[in-house]
């Protein structure tokens, strides 16, 4: 098993085994969605109209909360030092960690979204659109979050700062994710263009994220 695969597999195993990671993110997602009707009232028509936005915001926040443990646990027990001394490029190592994080935190949110859409009175077509946009957009959220995680890795309680750094960068993803979802409800705008931009954002972030994170980690751990 090569070093990258070993890293990927271990991170996924940890996320599932520790019992944190995957499920807690989904539970938080559920709670945020549940709070919305308490805030705006149970008007079904209104909920259906803001549904995609609520799901996207919930997913974004749930993803944000999980970013804290992307790099800090390895930093705190000294594993990160050793990963930097392995014979693999740091960029690929952090990309593998981000991928593992997305598979165990982002993907469950994508799967949960249609179910939560029921709470918001979304019809299957709208729910499907939201899930699809989340599938295309959550990688961007994770890989952009990777940058924030690398910048704040050595800080105690860097979680809030991480959020401040990452949220402005997440804005384009949110804009296009919700817009693409809404085309399934409102029309007549086609789904294609905003969805394509969303995919492009994810691809760009999957390149920039690891490079920026590696830059931040090298020599930056003391």
């Amino acid at each position: 098993m090569g070093p990258l695969t070993a890293l990927l597999v271990r991170d996924m195993r940890m996320a599932v085994r520790v019992g944190g990671g995957a499920l807690i993110g989904v539970v938080f997602f559920l709670m945020v969605v549940t709070l919305v009707p308490f805030a705006v009232g149970p008007d079904l028509a209104l909920l259906a109209r803001i549904g995609p936005a609520v799901l996207w915001l919930g997913a974004l926040l749930a993803n944000l909360l999980g970013l804290d443990r992307l790099l800090t646990s390895d930093y705190e027990d000294g594993s990160l030092d050793l990963i930097l001394m392995a014979r693999m490029p740091v960029e690929l190592a952090v990309a593998a960690k981000a991928l593992a994080h997305w598979l165990t935190t982002g993907l469950p949110l994508v799967i949960a979204a249609p179910l939560l859409g029921i709470l918001l009175n979304l019809d299957p077509k709208a729910s499907g659109a939201v899930a699809l946009t989340l599938l295309a957009g959550t990688p961007a959220l994770t890989f952009i979050g990777l940058i924030g995680a690398a910048l704040t890795v050595a800080l105690r309680r860097g979680g809030l700062l991480l959020a401040i750094l990452v949220l402005p960068l997440n804005t384009p993803v949110l804009i296009f994710g919700v817009a693409a979802s809404n085309t399934a409800i409102v029309g007549p705008m086609p789904f294609g263009p905003p969805f394509a931009v969303l995919c492009a954002l994810s691809l760009i972030s999957m390149v920039i994220g690891p490079f920026a994170a590696a830059l931040a980690l090298r020599y930056g751990l003391d």
């Binding site: 271990r10 940890m14 027990d77 030092d81 930097l84 001394m85 392995a86 693999m88 003391d222």
Partner: protein, 211 residues
């Protein structure tokens, strides 16, 4: 011939100069003991050689080894932290490091050499401090790298553990590897040479008139 050289090495952490004008050469089969009081920069020196810190001045060069890898990529580093995941078993932890560090030696064999063979299936959570140290040291055996950088490796080890450490170090030196050990107290083996930090830095600072 394997040789690790440092020339005019200086280290700055948090704006403070930790050490300066450090020079040494270690050859394959030799052990350098890095000594000095607390804060003299022993840990910083090891981290610097490992590539985890950038030097403020000077350079570290390695001769007679694979040219395509950096010094850090050919070194083992055992620091103060033990780098294991409590929720994974002892064996899973070591297997992970074997894969990441590109090792070719058997996990079971390495665990046996450090005396953790019987606990291989246990979650690392249940290990005592001394056992965790042994798990850290087992990393050295599961992947072959010529340079070993050990920062207080015998801390938390009992007498038997220190003996084991001495044997492991001896085998490494006999195989042509080189060793840098920073220790506060007793060393597990007699060193070939000693590098005293703290005194050198203070003298250098005085000669510069504390500018």
């Amino acid at each position: 011939m394997l040789e690790l050289q440092a020339l005019d090495l200086a280290c700055v952490r948090a704006g403070r100069e930790v050490f300066a004008d450090v020079e040494f050469a270690v050859r394959g089969g030799e052990m350098l003991a890095v000594t000095g009081p607390n804060g003299a920069g022993k840990s910083s020196l090891l981290r610097l050689i490992a590539g985890l810190l950038a030097p403020a001045r000077g350079q570290v060069t390695l001769h007679g080894a694979a040219a395509e890898y950096t010094v850090g990529e050919q070194a083992h580093y055992v620091g103060h932290l033990d780098a294991f995941k409590p929720s994974l078993t002892v064996e899973e932890n070591l297997a992970f490091w074997k894969a990441v560090l590109g090792g070719g030696n058997e996990v079971r064999g390495a665990l046996a050499a450090v005396g953790l063979d019987a606990l291989a299936h246990l979650p690392a959570l249940y290990l005592s401090a001394g056992q965790r140290r042994r798990l850290s040291l087992s990393r050295l055996l599961v992947a072959a790298r010529p340079i070993w950088l050990l920062d207080e490796p015998s801390s938390a080890l009992d007498a038997a553990g220190v003996t084991m450490l001495g044997e492991v170090m001896g085998a490494h030196l006999a195989g042509g590897g080189l060793l840098l050990v920073a220790e506060h107290g007793r060393l597990a083996r007699a060193p070939t040479r000693e590098l005293q930090l703290g005194r050198a830095t203070a003298a250098a600072r005085r000669s510069r008139g504390q500018a």
